[in-house]
């Protein structure tokens, strides 16, 4: 129960703080502020406890003491909130309620389509477990490793998989501790809501039209990468959502009757904290975070005469960006001497600080395009080298969808046109965001190896930027055709995306066996090993989390920590009890992975629907 209390207390504190601080009449802004604050409140105590543990002042990081700490924070916030309410009741200005949005049938239809697809994804969680490769190989294992070790330190092996900034995994750690391993994607569901609200607010700033902003948001939420990541244990969506939340909060800091300078500063701080969460979630976001800092600092310097808060603004920006990310940077620096480890620091071809330059292979883009020029038509082809058993090229890492292909590339060109033709009277935010978008596209092209999911902030921001086009089409004479096209394009994308979870759902119901061992196709024996058994994983990266067993009581030495030539000495050093080996069933060679092992069990299991068979061997270390 401690993890639920921990998260619940943080949520109530965030609610109280937002109710007192955030005076926005727009409910989207209030909810967004609350969600960002909630994330900050549940991340920072873990960072603090982990830092104290690494410094040797705490023996282990445990969730029960953290829940008590969170309760104390809630008590302080509640008292402060009560005192503030009595002192501010009379002075609070009456705000005019925003005009209620017009009813638009096509938006309701679009929302039903996107919501329906999300429901199928959600229903899949009831019969399935997280099953995406990177999630199983290291995102979930790192969260479980922290929980079992009681420490967030980088292990002695310096494996890059366990050394990445990992704010998303803190949420997963809480859910694992609560025994909710089927529902780890709830962390990303929160991110999807944050992403939707941020897209809506940014789009509204570009058009001042709620319907256009809502249409842009639906397109963003229909992007297959977004839909798949919202129901997975990946981290790109979480980082993207908070980066966009930071952007939205920053561009709204003087809006909504925020005439009180302290409230504007509070929103600036919240914007920086949101961006800091994204920096501390994924190392590719160092780039986006750096751009966020430069642009926001430039805007604050430009506004210094109007608002006269330059020094305080810059200070809050730096503090906000650092607070949710400095733990990871400090941890890497103390352990390896390289603050951005596992990324190497290379200057003019010379390695200044060592790291792993091959986390993402140089030719990784070949999984999505057959030649570099094909990127120009990727939204219309959505080719994938290995689409898997169902052949559908949509996944956590690929696919932009039909609604995106229909409106977004054209919308970007239209946004450039609007920015140029309206001259200095045009919407400034739109102009700045359009310039930034193209600059970031260049960064993605040259700096992020053209991996589609690394460019997720770009694809979502592009949806917001196409809102002027959506408004123009919706206000034109042929609006009926536009509305039909809008709904059809969303429906065709969502039908394809939701087919994948629908297949898993039907397969699960048909099999009738919803056990973990059946879902992941591993021997049931592994679930029945005594708690604390240490297993060396020779079954492959996909099994680093799986081998922990249904009760998560096995301690797994992941495949990436094992040496290329396994030796008995190494296994003894690591206190391994068993070596788990998985081979193709045709490979019947009797030889063990190394000397000094005794075969205690051998089992052949059918894998999935493709008809493959795996031979499992469990070796005891003697």
């Amino acid at each position: 129960m401690a993890p639920f209390f921990y998260l619940g207390f943080a949520a109530v504190s965030a609610f109280l703080l937002v109710r007192r601080f955030e005076g926005a009449p727009d409910p989207a802004m209030r909810v967004l502020s609350g969600l960002v604050l909630w994330a900050v409140l549940y991340l920072l105590p873990v960072h603090l406890a982990a830092a104290l543990q690494i410094a040797g002042w705490l023996q282990t990081v445990q969730i029960t003491p953290l829940a008590f700490f969170q309760a104390a924070v809630l008590a302080v916030v509640a008292v402060w909130s009560f005192l503030r309410r009595t002192s501010r009741t009379e002075s609070q200005p009456t705000r005019s309620s925003p005009p209620s949005p017009q009813f638009a049938g096509y938006l309701v239809a679009g929302a039903i389509v996107v919501g329906g697809a999300s429901l199928i994804f959600a229903a899949q969680m009831l019969v399935a477990f997280p099953d995406d490769p990177d999630a199983l190989a290291y995102h979930i294992p790192v969260a479980l490793h922290w929980l079992q070790e009681g420490s967030l330190r980088i292990p002695a092996s310096l494996a890059w998989e366990f050394s990445l900034p990992a704010n998303t995994e803190i949420g997963m750690m809480m859910l694992l501790a609560a025994g909710a391993q089927r529902f780890l994607s709830l962390v990303n569901l929160l991110a999807a809501i944050v992403l939707g609200l941020s897209t809506y607010l940014i789009a509204k700033k570009c058009t001042t039209n709620r319907l256009g902003a809502a249409s842009a948001t639906l397109i963003a939420l229909s992007i297959p990468i977004v839909q798949f990541q919202a129901f997975s244990a990946y981290i790109d969506l979480y980082a993207t959502a908070f980066l966009l939340a930071g952007t939205a909060l920053f561009i709204y800091r003087y809006d909504d009757d925020l005439d009180h300078p302290r409230l504007a500063l509070a929103r600036l701080m919240l914007a920086a904290l949101a961006c800091g969460i994204s920096i501390g979630s994924k190392s590719t976001f160092y780039l986006y975070g750096g751009v966020f800092f430069l642009v926001s600092a430039a805007v604050l310097i430009r506004e210094r005469c109007t608002h006269k808060q330059l020094a305080r603004g810059l200070l809050l920006l730096v503090v906000g960006l650092s607070a949710p990310s400095v733990f990871w940077i400090g941890r890497s620096w103390l352990t390896t001497g390289n603050p951005v480890y596992p990324l190497p620091v290379i200057f003019h071809g010379r390695t200044i600080l060592a790291g792993n330059p091959n986390i993402t292979p140089v030719n990784y883009e070949e999984n999505f395009v057959r030649s570099r020029a094909e990127w120009l038509i990727y939204p219309w082809t959505e080719w994938k080298k290995s689409p898997g058993y169902l052949l559908i090229p949509y996944s956590t890492g690929s696919g932009l969808g039909g609604a995106f292909a229909t409106f977004v590339p054209l919308g970007l060109v239209f946004a450039v046109g609007v920015s140029c033709t309206r001259g200095p009277r045009g919407p400034t935010v739109l102009k700045v965001l359009v310039i930034l978008w193209w600059a970031l596209l260049i960064c993605w092209w040259f700096g992020l190896r053209r991996v589609p999911r690394f460019g997720l902030p770009l694809w979502v921001l592009a949806c917001a930027l196409c809102s002027p086009l959506l408004v123009a089409l919706d206000q034109g004479r042929s609006r009926r055709i536009f509305r039909v096209l809008f709904v059809i394009s969303l429906a065709s994308t969502c039908a394809i995306s939701s087919f994948v979870p629908l297949h898993t759902l039907l397969a699960g119901l048909r099999e009738g066996d919803l056990s973990r061992s059946k879902f992941y196709d591993y021997p049931k024996t592994i679930d029945n090993l005594p708690a604390g058994t240490r297993l060396a994983n020779e079954a492959g990266g996909d099994y680093n989390f799986v081998l922990a067993g249904s009760k998560l009581t096995n301690e797994v030495i992941p495949d990436f920590e094992l040496p290329a030539n396994l030796t008995n000495t190494y296994l003894r050093q690591m206190h391994a009890d068993f070596v788990i080996q998985r081979l193709d069933a045709a490979q019947a060679g009797p030889s063990p992975p190394c000397d000094g092992l005794e075969l205690v069990r051998e089992e052949v299991l059918k894998v999935g629907e493709a008809g493959r068979r795996d031979r499992w061997r469990i070796w005891r270390v003697e």
């Binding site: 219309w380 994938k384 169902l390 229909t406 054209l410 096209l485 087919f499």
Partner: protein, 42 residues
């Protein structure tokens, strides 16, 4: 002029959708897989 511009934009968007419909590998894969799945169930 405004009407022409709007209709031009809508035409490009519609063409864009049909190009996606005709060329995206997602569509052909979906049709193949859906057929395979439902023939198994029915």
């Amino acid at each position: 002029m405004q009407v022409l511009k709007e209709r031009g934009l809508l035409l490009v968007a519609t063409l864009s959708y049909f190009i996606w419909l005709g060329h995206s590998f997602a569509i052909s894969a979906f049709l193949k897989s859906a057929h395979r799945l439902f023939s198994k169930f029915l």
